[in-house]
């Protein structure tokens, strides 16, 4: 085979995370950055997100997914970052060796000085939520439905029931309706919606699509193509309430039941994973447990806004450049612990307090009038107030240590508490 390539940095995945990471690494001084994407174009999930609502934080305006992606693609074209499209990374070893493949060059070996993981996430399937019934055609995840309609020009269903009220499901409820399909309703097992309030209003209420909270699908009827579903109310334990079952005829069951970081390569590289996010543990530079391997975007945890994805990617890109250019030994990390009403925090580790750190986290349950804090021992490093926090909406607290010293800090705690004032 051809000779081994040794670039400064390889970015795996060309979605918003990979694009911003490659740009940041390049502008922080790396000359030889290689971006590898398996699809035929850059942008990741964004080209299929033809609705608007992207970029309100980064660009202070709302763009569509393709518009948001294009800004980065254009900027990338002005750098010397090399892009390999239609190329899949098959393997990543703990020593950062990469095996990639495409039909032009075959198998390619790369030994980069740093790696940034930006592979995004995948959707949970009916089996992962143990949905009983037949296995007919017409059971489809929301992201896949979006791809069929918006990219492939195919209509996956005419009469749709939606399980799960995640954002993509809500967006697709509207999309199906605009395409002439009937959406019978959205069923959500929890007692609160999974998606953002603006999407409930704009995608369901405006189209008179009913949202049934504390409901689930208990059976998929088949066997060839979906013929209907049985839905039922659930009790506090999320178990179906006997007698509440209802049969709804439909030809499609669309699932919006969660996203999981794409962690195949993370596992192959032996990265330590966070059992809650299912993504790798990262520190304040977005570096993983393995020296020289960074991660950003939805591969780390599923962010609800692309702006946060971009932000995490810029940190990772800069981190990788520092690692290659300065090559400092890594300090032992301080752990960040989720405290009261906090499900998880990213980053999970902190090695240096030299710069301010933004801690992103999700709450466990909705709560009104709260104070959110980052504490080290008795000392408060950052705080914010909020009128309302919900699990679907990520929260963030910027924190800093005056003087940047971290001596004596053992662990950090992020917590949400009722606001006394």
């Amino acid at each position: 085979m051809s000779k081994v390539r040794r670039p400064d940095c390889v970015v795996i995945g060309g979605g918003p995370a990979g694009l911003a990471a490659a740009l940041a690494a390049s502008s922080a001084g790396l000359d030889d950055v290689l971006l590898i994407e398996r699809d035929i174009e850059l942008g990741g999930i964004l080209p299929q997100c033809i609705h608007d609502g992207f970029g309100s934080i980064v660009f202070k305006e709302t763009l569509t997914g393709p518009q948001y992606a294009q800004r980065y693609v254009d900027e990338l074209a002005r750098t010397n970052v090399e892009v390999m499209l239609e190329t899949i990374v098959l393997d990543l070893a703990p020593d950062r060796r990469i095996t990639a493949m495409n039909s032009r060059d075959g198998l390619v070996d790369i030994e980069p000085r740093s790696v940034i993981l930006a592979m995004g996430c995948r959707e949970r399937t009916r089996h992962q939520v143990l949905l009983p019934g037949y296995r007919p055609a017409g059971v489809i995840t929301a992201g896949a439905a979006q791809r069929y309609i918006n990219i492939e020009g195919l209509m996956p269903g005419g009469k749709v029931v939606i399980l799960g009220s995640g954002d993509i499901g809500l967006i697709m409820a509207r999309r199906f309706t605009l395409e002439g399909a009937t959406v019978e309703g959205v069923y959500e097992i929890l007692d609160h919606p999974g998606g953002l309030t603006r999407n409930i209003v704009q995608c369901l209420n405006d189209f008179e699509i009913p949202l049934h909270l504390s409901h689930t699908v208990t059976f998929i009827h088949g066997p060839g193509r979906v013929e209907g579903v049985t839905v039922a109310a659930v009790d506090r334990e999320r178990l179906p309430v006997p007698g509440s079952e209802r049969h709804i005829p439909c030809d499609t069951l669309m699932l919006s039941v969660g996203l999981i970081p794409e962690n195949e390569l993370s596992k192959r590289a032996d990265l330590r994973l966070d059992p809650v996010t299912a993504g790798p543990l990262v520190d304040e530079r977005m570096e993983t447990s393995v020296d020289g391997i960074f991660a950003c975007g939805n591969v780390v945890n599923v962010y609800d806004l692309v702006d946060y994805v971009t932000h995490s990617a810029e940190i990772a890109g800069r981190g990788a450049a520092e690692r290659v250019l300065e090559g400092r030994p890594r300090k032992a990390p301080v752990t960040v612990v989720p405290g009261r009403n906090v499900k998880y925090v990213v980053p999970q580790l902190v090695r240096s307090f030299e710069r301010d750190i933004d801690f992103y986290f999700r709450v466990e349950h909705p709560e009104k009038a709260v104070r959110m804090t980052v504490k080290a021992g008795g000392e408060t490093l950052g705080r914010r107030k909020a009128k309302m926090v919900h699990p679907p909406e990520m929260a963030m607290i910027p924190a800093s240590v005056p003087g940047g010293g971290s001596e004596g800090v053992r662990e950090l705690v992020v917590e949400v508490a009722p606001d006394a004032e």
Partner: protein, 523 residues
């Protein structure tokens, strides 16, 4: 696929593992064989949805036909698959004796030392002795420490075990496809999408098989129609037995979470007391690819097409294995399936030439261990067919091998490079979970028995069997299928007519658009 011919020497009804085993065996003696199936691919019935176990026969009651054919079938398996390019591995079965092994009544009212003695000393020896008497070799008693050395994840309650080393695993659908292809390569004709609706007899002998695609004259019919074997036999007036459906569901776990979780298959030994023995099988089994499988359930069903899985079944499997494998990874289920067994009233196989209708052969009641017994079933049916006039001399030209194109994921690095060199489409991964390439899919579509649906591609290549369950590969594969078959993309099905993936091209539901017009392949 082949057009329905006007006549044939032998017609085999049913392209499951049983029908295909018989057809392949037949082609050693005659090429004049036609296989019929109502579905659009072979192995679309029970043969695609079972646990892949080639049992030794240890669980079958002495003196039954299925016990005899199971033991014989197991012995024949290596020769049976040779040349077919199908994986068959004797991984062994560990039968574990626990405090639950004795019937509950006995255990409750007997002194502890007695139960202990029975469990530790008597049961394992009984199992080995009874197995040896059935003709099963290589059964060994393993002590508790050895159990944990072999299978560290088994319950600490394990007392002693028996290792059944001739037990093996084979991919049931790959085997069935391979047998069908081997038969076709040796002259058999395969007619799919062809439903048998009647059997014409004259003067007490078979004359023709009537199908929804026309009639086919023949003197010999082999009825291997699975759960419908009773109905087919009735059509000929050669029945009188009933087959009822008994559903079984299985859960499959993510390979990454469960590789080596069990190294061979593991089952708990239970004497169920008065309850009559029903369909055999059940335990924790690794697939040949390394995923953990748990199951199956056994539920009587009225509808022979009931391949659904109920919430109760899922819970039952979780509860059952909670004991044997206390910490199996509950959150790593990637797939569930269920299949329908075809037991007869007395639970045994029904194999034989009809006494009422000359030329009509029943191969019915083929519940578990039908897969394990298949080689011996084919052997036995062949004897019957010789008696009905099929020549006893082998054909001069019989192709021993069924060559298959190499799959990318099965190759070492150097061979992968050579594959890409030869076919650039091997450089394009379409199923990321199982690393299936575009060339693999194209090869499946143009195979000896061509894949024409998503599930047919999946059975041949594994595309869509990984943890994303087709989320990533369905767009690619539906596009490749449409391209290679020359049909619009919205006509691609999951498993034959009536299971279309799409309702039409985009915009087909909007006012003024007619459904299913134009080509949806917009990319």
């Amino acid at each position: 696929m082949d057009e329905l011919p006007g006549r044939a020497g032998v017609v085999v009804i049913g392209a499951g593992v049983i029908g295909c085993s018989i057809a392949r065996e037949l082609t050693r003696y005659t090429h004049d064989v036609v296989i019929l199936d109502k579905e659009s691919d072979v192995s679309s019935g029970t043969s695609k949805a079972n646990n892949a176990e080639v049992h030794s026969g240890i669980g079958e009651k002495s003196g039954t036909l299925k016990q005899r054919l199971n033991v014989r079938g197991n012995q024949m398996y290596d020769d049976f698959v040779s040349g077919l390019n199908v994986d068959f591995r004797r991984q062994g079965l560990l039968i574990v004796i626990t405090p639950r092994s004795l019937p509950e009544g006995l255990a409750r009212y007997s002194p502890g030392f007695l139960c202990d003695f029975l469990n530790r000393r008597v049961l394992p020896r009984l199992i080995v002795r009874s197995g040896n008497r059935k003709g099963i070799p290589w059964l060994t008693v393993v002590d508790r420490d050895e159990i944990f050395r072999m299978e560290p994840n088994v319950t600490r309650d394990a007392i002693v075990g028996v290792h059944d080393r001739t037990y093996g695993l084979v991919s049931p659908y790959k085997l069935t496809i391979a047998l069908a292809e081997h038969a076709v390569l040796n002259g058999a004709r395969l007619c799919l999408d062809t439903r048998v609706t009647g059997i014409r007899t004259e003067g007490g002998a078979v004359r023709a098989v009537v199908t929804d695609a026309g009639e086919i004259e023949c003197g010999i019919v082999v009825n291997a129609a699975g759960v419908y074997a009773d109905e087919i036999a009735d059509m000929a007036g050669a029945g009188g037995f009933r087959i009822h459906g008994r559903k079984g569901a299985t859960l499959i776990f993510d390979r990454e979470a469960t590789r080596e979780y069990v190294k061979g298959s593991v089952a708990e030994f239970r004497i169920t007391g008065r309850k009559k023995r029903t369909s055999k099988g059940g335990g924790a089994m690794p697939t040949l690819e390394g995923n953990l499988q748990l199951g199956p359930t056994a539920i009587e069903v009225d509808d022979k097409e009931d391949t659904s899985i109920s919430g109760d079944e899922i819970r039952e499997i979780f509860d059952r294995f909670h004991y044997l494998l206390p910490d199996f990874p509950r959150d790593s289920v990637i797939a569930m399936f269920s299949g329908v067994r075809a037991p007869s009233e007395d639970e045994d196989f029904i194999i034989g030439a009809s006494k009422e209708v000359a030329g009509f052969v029943n191969v019915a009641g083929m519940q578990s261990p039908g897969l394990a017994s298949a080689p011996a079933v084919a052997e036995m049916v062949m004897q019957i067919l010789h008696d009905l006039g099929i020549p006893r001399v082998k054909r001069a030209y019989f192709n021993q091998a069924r060559p298959t194109p190499r799959m990318f994921a099965d190759c070492e690095r150097a061979e992968q490079e050579a594959l890409i060199e030869r076919d650039r489409r091997h450089g394009h991964i379409v199923c990321r979970c199982e690393q299936v390439t575009e060339a693999d899919v194209v090869n499946a579509i143009h195979g000896v028995v061509p894949a024409r649906s998503m599930d047919a591609v999946k059975r041949r290549t594994r595309a869509g069997m990984g943890r994303c369950q087709g989320g990533f590969c369905t767009p690619w594969i539906s596009e490749i299928l449409a391209r290679e078959l020359g049909v619009p993309r919205h006509e691609i099905t999951k498993k034959g007519p009536g299971s279309e993936l799409f309702v039409g091209p985009a915009k087909c539901l909007l006012d003024g658009a007619s459904r299913r017009d134009g080509d949806g392949g917009a990319v």
